[in-house]
C-alpha cells in the first residue's frame, strides 16, 4: 500500500512538473520573440539610419519607428468568393457562421474547467465524505462532457483559420503580420492546455487522495490559467479591429507589440467575456441536467439531475449578477474610444438590436426567479415565504418594462404620429441610460432577494437577535432600492459627466446588498432547525423548462451581441485604418441578421444534443458493464 501511495505521489509530481514546464515554456516565448521583433525594428532603423521614418501611434499618440507595411487598399476583386446562391455568396456569411460556432464551443470549454476547479475544491473542503464524493463525481462528469466539445472547438478553429486564409487572404495577411508572435504563443498555449486537460481528465481516478488530490486540483487551476490567457490573446485580435492601437493612421506597425495587444477595448472585452463564458457554461450544464431530469426513469436519477441542475444554475446566476456591470464598462469604453461608435450601437443603426438584448436579459432574470420560486417546492416550510413572490415579481416586471423602453428608433411617419413624436411624451423619459441603470440594478436586487428567501426556505431561525436580523435585511433592501431609484432620478438633473459617475455608487449599492445580505442571512441560519431535508427531484417539470429558457436565451444573446460588436465597424475591417471594399460591405437588415442569429443558435443546439448523445452512449455502456458485473455469480472459494 505504501509503495502504491509513493508511486502515486511521484506520478503526481511528474504531472505537475510537466504542466509547470508547459506554462513556463509558453510564457518564455515573448522573451525570445520580443528581441526578434526589436531586432527587426533596429535593423530597419540602422540600415536606413539617416532616413528612419518615425510615425505617431493612432491611439497612444506616442512616436515609434515604422516597422511594417501600411494596411492594403483592396478592390472588390480582391475577395475570392464561391459562386453560391445568396446569402452564401457573401464570404462574411460563411465566416460569421463558423466564427459563431467556434466561439460557442470555445466559450463552453473555457467555462467548464472553471466549474470543475470550483466544484472539485468544494468537494475537497467538504467534511461529509458522501457529499465530498458527490461533488467530485460531478466535476469529473463535467470534464467528460467538455472533452468532446474540446475536439469540436479545435476542428471549428481550424475551419475558421482556413476560411480566413481562403476567403479574406489580404486581410488575414495584414492581421497576422501584426500579431505574428501572439499567434505563435496562442498555438503553443493551445498545446499546453490540451496536455493539461488530458492529464487532468485521465489522472482523475489515479489521484484521489491526500497530496495527489491536491496536485490534481492545482492542475485544474493551471488549466484555467492556460484557458484564460488563450482567450485574452484571441480577444486582442477582435478588439484591435474595433479600436486599433500600436499602428499609425496608415496602419503601419510601430514596433511595439504590447501597444497592439493592449488596445482600448481589450480589457473590458476580457472581463466581459470571462464572466459571460461562465453564465453560458452554467446554462449549458443546467440544460444538460434538465434534459437528463426529464428523461430520468427513477426518483434517484431525478434527484441527482435536479441537484446537478441547481448547482449549474447557481454558478450561472452567480456570474449573471456582475455581468451587466462588465457590459456597462465595455460600452462606456466604446463611447470613450469613439463616441460615434457608441451612438451607432445604442442610438442609431443598431439600436433595435439593443432593445432585443434588453428583452433577452429580462428573460434571463425572469427564468432565474421562476426557477428559484419553483425550487421552494423541494422544501417543507417554504410556504411562509411564498406570499412574497408576487411582490418580487411585480418589482421585477416594472423594472423590466423600464429596462426595455426604447429611446430613439428609426420609425415610419405613421408610427411617429401614433407615438406622438420621436419620443413618447411620458415613457420616452425611460429611454435614457440613467433609467436603465436603475432598472437593471432593481432586477438584480430582486433576484438576490429571491435567492436569500430560497436559502431560508427549510430552516427555522433560532438566533436571539432574529428580530434585529430580519429588520436589518428588510431595511437594507428597502433603502438600497430607494437609493438606487433616487440615483436614477437624480441623473436627470445633472450634467452628463456627473451622471455617468452615478453608475458606480449604484453598482456598489447592489453589491453591498449581495454580500452583506448573504452574510447576515448565513449568520442568522447558524444552528437553525430544519423543517425537513431538501427533497431533490421533487420539483415541477416547468422549472426544468425554465433552465432550458435560461440556456437558449443566453445562446441567443451571445449571437446577438457578437453581431452587434462586429457590425459596428460598418465598412471597416480595422476601424478607420483598413477599409472593407468587398462587394458586400453594407450592413444587413435587422430582420436578416436576426434570422442568421437564430440559424446559428439552432445549429449550435443540434451540435450540443449530438455531444450529449455521445456522452450518453459511453455512460450507458458503463452502466451495462456494471450491471453485468453485479449479475455475475460469485466464484465459490473466490476472494470476494
Amino acid at each position: 500500500m505504501k509503495a502504491i501511495s509513493k508511486r502515486i505521489r511521484a506520478w503526481s509530481l511528474v504531472s505537475l512538473g510537466a504542466v509547470v514546464t508547459m506554462l513556463v515554456m509558453s510564457l518564455a516565448v515573448p522573451f525570445f520573440t520580443a528581441p526578434v521583433m526589436a531586432d527587426e525594428a533596429t535593423k530597419a532603423a540602422t540600415e536606413a539610419a539617416p532616413k528612419v521614418e518615425m510615425a505617431k501611434d493612432i491611439y497612444f499618440k506616442t512616436e515609434g519607428p515604422v516597422s511594417g507595411n501600411p494596411a492594403p487598399e483592396l478592390k472588390a476583386t480582391d475577395y475570392p468568393s464561391y459562386n453560391l446562391p445568396y446569402p452564401l455568396s457573401e464570404n462574411r456569411i460563411l465566416i460569421w457562421s463558423i466564427a459563431q460556432q467556434h466561439l460557442y464551443f470555445g466559450s463552453f470549454v473555457l467555462a467548464v474547467p472553471i466549474f470543475c476547479m470550483i466544484i472539485e475544491l468544494v468537494g475537497l473542503l467538504t467534511k461529509d465524505p458522501v457529499m465530498s464524493k458527490k461533488y467530485d463525481d460531478l466535476a469529473h462528469l463535467l470534464v467528460k462532457i467538455s472533452l468532446t466539445a474540446y475536439s469540436v472547438t479545435a476542428i471549428l478553429g481550424g475551419l475558421l483559420l482556413f476560411s480566413f486564409i481562403t476567403l479574406y487572404p489580404d486581410f488575414f495577411k495584414y492581421i497576422s503580420s501584426l500579431f505574428r508572435p501572439v499567434m505563435h504563443i496562442y498555438a503553443l498555449l493551445f498545446l499546453a492546455e490540451s496536455g493539461t486537460l488530458y492529464l487532468y481528465y485521465y489522472g482523475w481516478d489515479r489521484m484521489t487522495h491526500g497530496f495527489a488530490k491536491w496536485v490534481h486540483a492545482c492542475m485544474g487551476v493551471l488549466l484555467n490559467v492556460f484557458g484564460s490567457v488563450l482567450m485574452m490573446l484571441a480577444n486582442s485580435w477582435a478588439s484591435f479591429m474595433m479600436s486599433p492601437a500600436g499602428v499609425d493612421e496608415k496602419g503601419r506597425y510601430l514596433g511595439n507589440i504590447w501597444a497592439i495587444l493592449h488596445n482600448a477595448l481589450w480589457n473590458p472585452l476580457n472581463v466581459h467575456r470571462i464572466i459571460g463564458n461562465m453564465v453560458f457554461g452554467g446554462g449549458i450544464v443546467a440544460a444538460y441536467a434538465a434534459y437528463k431530469f426529464l428523461a430520468a426513469k427513477t426518483l434517484e436519477e431525478k434527484a441527482y439531475y435536479d441537484w446537478m441542475g441547481y448547482i449549474a444554475m447557481f454558478m450561472a446566476v452567480g456570474s449573471l449578477i456582475p455581468l451587466p456591470f462588465a457590459g456597462y464598462w465595455l460600452m462606456r469604453e466604446v463611447y470613450g474610444f469613439r463616441q460615434q461608435m457608441g451612438i451607432t450601437l445604442m442610438g442609431g443603426l443598431l439600436a433595435w438590436l439593443f432593445i432585443i438584448q434588453a428583452v433577452l436579459i429580462g428573460a434571463l432574470f425572469f427564468s432565474t426567479n421562476y426557477y428559484l420560486f419553483n425550487g421552494m417546492e423541494r422544501m417543507r416550510g417554504a410556504e411562509k415565504y411564498q406570499k412574497y413572490i408576487k411582490y418580487i415579481l411585480f418589482l421585477t416586471t416594472a423594472a423590466f418594462l423600464v429596462w426595455l423602453t426604447p429611446h430613439t428608433l428609426v420609425m415610419r411617419p405613421a408610427e411617429l404620429k401614433a407615438i406622438g413624436g420621436q419620443q413618447h411624451p411620458v415613457i420616452g423619459n425611460f429611454g435614457v441610460m440613467s433609467a436603465k441603470n436603475g432598472a437593471v440594478n432593481t432586477m438584480i436586487m430582486t433576484t438576490i432577494i429571491s435567492f436569500l428567501l430560497y436559502q431560508r426556505s427549510n430552516k427555522i431561525v433560532v438566533v436571539k437577535w432574529e428580530a434585529w436580523g430580519n429588520a436589518a435585511l428588510m431595511a437594507m433592501f428597502t433603502v438600497a432600492l430607494v437609493n438606487n431609484w433616487w440615483l436614477a432620478i437624480y441623473g436627470y438633473f445633472i450634467p452628463a459627466n456627473v451622471r455617468v459617475g452615478l453608475s458606480v455608487p449604484q453598482v456598489i449599492g447592489t453589491l453591498t446588498t449581495l454580500f452583506i445580505g448573504s452574510a447576515i442571512n448565513i449568520a442568522m441560519m447558524r444552528g437553525s432547525k430544519l423543517t425537513g431535508p431538501i427533497e431533490w427531484g421533487k420539483i415541477s417539470v416547468r422549472s426544468q423548462y425554465a433552465l432550458f429558457s435560461l440556456a437558449v436565451s443566453f445562446t441567443w444573446l451571445m449571437a446577438l451581441m457578437g453581431y452587434i460588436r462586429s457590425s459596428v465597424r460598418l465598412f471597416w475591417h480595422v476601424m478607420e485604418v483598413f477599409r472593407d471594399n468587398s462587394p458586400w460591405a453594407f450592413t444587413h437588415t435587422i430582420g436578416f441578421a436576426a434570422n442568421m442569429m437564430s440559424v446559428n443558435v439552432m445549429a449550435f443546439w443540434l451540435f450540443v444534443l449530438f455531444v450529449f448523445w455521445l456522452g450518453e452512449l459511453t455512460s450507458k455502456h458503463a452502466v451495462a458493464e456494471a450491471r453485468k458485473e453485479a449479475a455475475r455469480p460469485a466464484m465459490a472459494g473466490g476472494s470476494e
Binding site: 428580530a467 431595511a475 437594507m476 433603502v479 437609493n483 459627466n497 459617475g501 452615478l502
Partner: protein
C-alpha cells in the same frame, strides 16, 4: 413592537450608510455628489 422599532432604527442606519457610500464613490471618481445642492 420590538420588530417595528428594530426596523425603524435599521432604516436610519442603512440610509446613513448608503448616502455615505454614494458620496464616497463619487469622491473617488473626483465628482461632486452634492452637485445640485450648492
Amino acid at each position: 413592537m420590538k420588530t417595528v422599532i428594530a426596523f425603524a432604527v435599521m432604516l436610519v442606519v442603512w440610509f446613513a450608510y448608503f448616502q455615505a457610500e454614494d458620496w464616497l464613490f463619487m469622491k473617488i471618481q473626483g465628482l461632486d455628489y452634492f452637485f445640485l445642492f450648492h
